[in-house]
Subunit: 221 residues, 2 copies
DNA sequence: GGCGAAAACCGAACACTGTTCGTTATTCAT
DNA sequence: ATGAATAACGAACAGTGTTCGGTTTTCGCC
């Protein structure tokens, strides 16, 4: 019953397992089943991201992406039901990659690492920001995606911060749910702002916020 | 030379004056000069917002908006050079309205009042979130708009928070620039998140953040 | 190893998008 | 009342995402 007092580690391994088991990740990758199809699907995702990075979200048409992937528009739509679903699939692939890459790190360290890495892939950030806004429409595929993703990611983070509170590492007069939501909303907003003004130092900004959460110096001095 | 120690009031009056003088507000409202034209321009703005509120951002075509305003698409484009500029003009009109409405209030109170009011106009929030994301593209009209708006609004807020720090009302170990940027980014991100999950209490969330800025109880107890 | 069902893929068409252009009708200062 | 600028339109345009019927390719199974 005594709480584990060691530093939190491998925070996301259970999420990764849950996601892959659920088919959220590359397992049920749409309608691709043949070996060639699976490879092509991956190629399309890469081509789409490259086109977005090169021409921006606005300038990325299905025809452009299909050309870049060596495919006709109709051939592309065979894998992803629509352009919107293709874009969502890119974000899902990114999630899966990030989870696998940072699964064995401390939660906040992984969070900061992702943010730091994002600054090197503006095309992806642009796509994310655009879809996060479009997710406001319940009919948009991104809506369900963001709802699921948020619920899935916030839960373990909440527990981690609650544990950190009990350990006395962060102030105990703030709700862990509020912290997690703030971090998410702050990160999303920062990325949108960073696209407009690349001078913004996203990791430093987040770290400043985390510093605000440190406990009051009542017992410290 | 002694600083005014009263509570901050009428925080935005100078901004309003600056904006209107610059033509940012309804003064240089595009190409409308005749009485009928000015009225029609206003009608289009209202119709566009109504269509967005009713059909969502995605479902709001130029033809729909033109119909709602009793105009042909070409007639509409006479006032606003493009659909994107029309949407930016809606946000500008909103800014102007908000500034006039809350100009005589305390800055943070006005900020919270705007957020609170936004929860009653989801169409407008959706439009704002969408354009804030699109502003990442330097070629998009929203880019220049958001850059100007950010610079214009953050400056006085920064000074207000710096003054509040000197008055000892908020912790002095955080950069006022960071506070202001965080508030903006937090508000923007919250609105996007609220569109996905309307259960979020935006004003309460912001107030929680402001509470974190209150000075440490070093002298208090 | 060839059969056949399913997947992969395409060409052509479709409805719709935002925008341009030439032209006509209306406004309003002089 | 005149005339130059504004207001407004119809028609056309290139481009969009998507659908559909059909052909080619893959690959497990007998």
């Amino acid at each position: 019953m005594l709480a584990d007092r060691r530093r939190p580690r491998k925070a996301f391994t259970n999420i990764v397992r849950f996601l892959t088991a659920r088919g959220y990740a590359e397992g049920m990758a749409g309608r691709a089943v043949y070996a060639k199809g699976i490879a092509k699907r991956e190629e399309i995702l890469g081509a789409a991201l490259a086109v977005v990075a090169a021409q921006g979200y606005r300038g990325a048409s299905v025809r452009d992406i299909a050309d870049a992937a060596g495919l006709s528009p109709a051939g592309l739509l065979h894998y992803f039901g629509s352009k919107e679903e293709l874009f969502v699939a890119i974000l899902q692939a990114r999630d899966e990659h990030d989870l696998r890459t940072y699964a064995d790190q401390d939660a906040t360290a992984a969070f900061l690492a992702v943010i730091r890495h994002n600054a090197s892939v503006p095309g992806l950030v642009q796509l994310y920001a655009q879809l996060a806004a479009a997710a406001g429409d319940p009919a948009h595929p991104a809506h369900a995606y963001f709802r699921e993703r948020t619920a899935l990611l916030e839960e373990p983070f909440r527990e981690l911060f609650a544990a950190a509170q009990e350990r006395g590492e962060i102030r105990d007069d703030v709700d862990p749910g509020w912290i997690v939501r703030t971090l998410r909303v702050l990160a999303d907003g920062l990325q949108s702002a960073w696209l407009v003004d690349p001078g913004i130092d996203m990791p430093a900004h987040i770290e400043q916020f985390l510093a605000l959460l440190r406990p009051l110096p009542a017992t410290a001095r």
